[in-house]
Amino acid sequence: MILEWLGKIGDFSLTLLIVTLYGLLVGAYVERVIAKVQGRIGIPYSQPFINILKNFFKRTAVSHGVMFYLGPVFRIAGGIGTLAFVPVIYGSEMFSNFSMAGDLFLVIYFMFFGQLGMALGAGESGHPYSAIGIARGLSQMTAYEVPFALAVISIVIQYDTLSITGIVAAQQGGWQNWTVFTNWVATLAAMLAFLGMMGYSPFDIFLAPQEIPVGPPTEFHSAYLGLLQTNRALFGATKLILFMNLFFGGATGWIELMIKTLLIYMVAVVVGVAYPRFRVDQGIRFFFKIPTLIGIASIIYVQMVLIS
């Protein structure tokens, strides 16, 4: 029993390491793509690693209180935990992580965990701009969860299971079995929600990289910021893996996973470099209109076409 758990933890640590490194690398790649669009050369591939190292090598810090100190811990625990409940490689016992603990609903609800901790930490810093960033981030989050939840319910009806492994298993046997081809309506709704989830333009106002200094993490610096940056890469990669599992047939090996997630990421990047930014209320209204209608259509589509 103990040995089994230790083995499981070892396997998960390996997954965590690979996914974090991959997330950082793919983040640098995306930065370079954006730079190329803007006619620049862009950062070196090592830049995200150096940034994190630099933040860990800072020598001074301030603390606004215990919750401020724990905020980044909650945030990265949210990232690691979400990864822990998602099976990464289909058919591999080693990289299935702790997905036997809970199903798809657990993963979706657990995404709130990091947001909550971060919101509490940023709130204790007492900076009004942090609070504004939180208000914007939380509002936008609830808005994009609506089409995403509708799409998820649609595919749960389609595959008659909530287990992510089960959903991936149902999509095996060729590309024509992937959700994106069997239930393209739900995939469309989910990909629109995905744009909001990844925080690229037009839905990047809650981070507001320049204006209300960087949204919730305004007051975070040094090692806190190092943790937050690590989490950003890790959590981004986890969301990509989740979308790949739900809509693009999962992956049976790391190479397949990397190619697929990179292509999914590119959806958000292509939209991001092409479109200007929405205000938060415009973003909320957007999500409640067309993506929600598509989400409702996807449930009707599943009930009318696929089930009967």
Partner: protein, 265 residues
């Protein structure tokens, strides 16, 4: 509530208990609120009530919004000057909270303790018991292994904490006061105008607030308006002027004359 703020400094225990309760209520795993939401959603899906399941999901996301607002407004942000001397709630108020939080934690880790008696109690009327596989609860769609979730979350929470504590050894961390914030190179002047709490989710209001504006008031206001204009129109005839009334009487006689045997017959 807007008169408070920053009370986490004075009332750390109350804050912690409120926070745990809110995590549990808004259905964030690993605490027990998630179990209730999970069971409810599964039951709705099994019945085929997909729309209600979608609404339930959205409402739990929004519940998270307004309950966070409680924490932000009362406990986080800037403390007012007159609240600097406030003290933690007395032990007699804290002890019941500790007990309740302990119950939440235990039930979060072992929901079987609560669910087994409950399902046994309702079994004679509703039939159908919960399906257990070890500590994992099984439904037609999915599974939920609460003790394992608790263990995993505790693990992934402890590891970054230890890392941060280790890094903190190499850092000079200075504990600062509430006004030591970056304020665009200025200094804050009063806690009242630095604490952001009022109209917290203003964007939501701008986006879909028109849905919740009270309709009844608008309806009765319109009714009042219409009766005023109706009265104003009637005032043309009933205008309190004796000559007009005399004219009406005259017109009545003329009309009678025309109808009863004058020109028409």
């Amino acid at each position: 509530m807007y008169k408070m703020g920053g009370l986490i400094k004075n009332m750390p225990f109350t804050f912690t208990f409120t926070m745990i309760a809110i995590i549990a209520m808004s259905g964030v795993p690993p605490l027990t609120g998630f179990g209730g939401k999970w069971l409810l959603t599964n039951a709705l899906m099994e019945k085929g009530w997909y729309w209600i399941a979608a609404f339930a999901f959205f409402s739990s996301a929004v519940a998270f919004l307004y309950m966070f607002r409680l924490l932000q407004t009362v406990f986080l942000g800037q403390r007012k000057l007159e609240h600097a001397k406030l003290r933690e709630a007395p032990a007699i108020l804290l002890v019941p909270q500790v007990v309740m939080i302990a119950v939440i934690m235990v039930l979060s880790a072992y929901p079987k303790l609560l669910l087994d008696p409950l399902s046994a109690a309702v079994a004679p009327w509703l039939g159908g018991a919960l399906v257990w596989d070890g500590f994992a609860l099984q439904t037609h769609f999915g599974y939920w292994n609460a003790p394992m979730i608790m263990a995993v979350v505790a693990g992934v929470w402890m590891v970054p904490l230890v890392i941060l504590l280790l890094i903190s050894l190499t850092l000079k961390i200075q504990k600062v006061e509430q006004f030591n914030i970056v304020y665009a190179a200025e200094r804050p002047h009063r806690p009242e105008d630095t604490h952001f709490a009022y109209n917290f989710f203003a964007h939501y209001d701008r986006a879909i607030g028109f849905l919740v504006r009270p309709r009844a008031t608008a309806f009765w206001n319109t009714a009042v308006e219409w009766s005023y204009s109706l009265g104003a129109s009637l005032r043309i005839f009933y205008n309190g002027n004796g000559q007009t009334y005399a004219l009406f009487i005259l017109m009545y006689f003329v009309a009678m004359f025309l109808v009863n045997g004058g020109i028409l017959l």
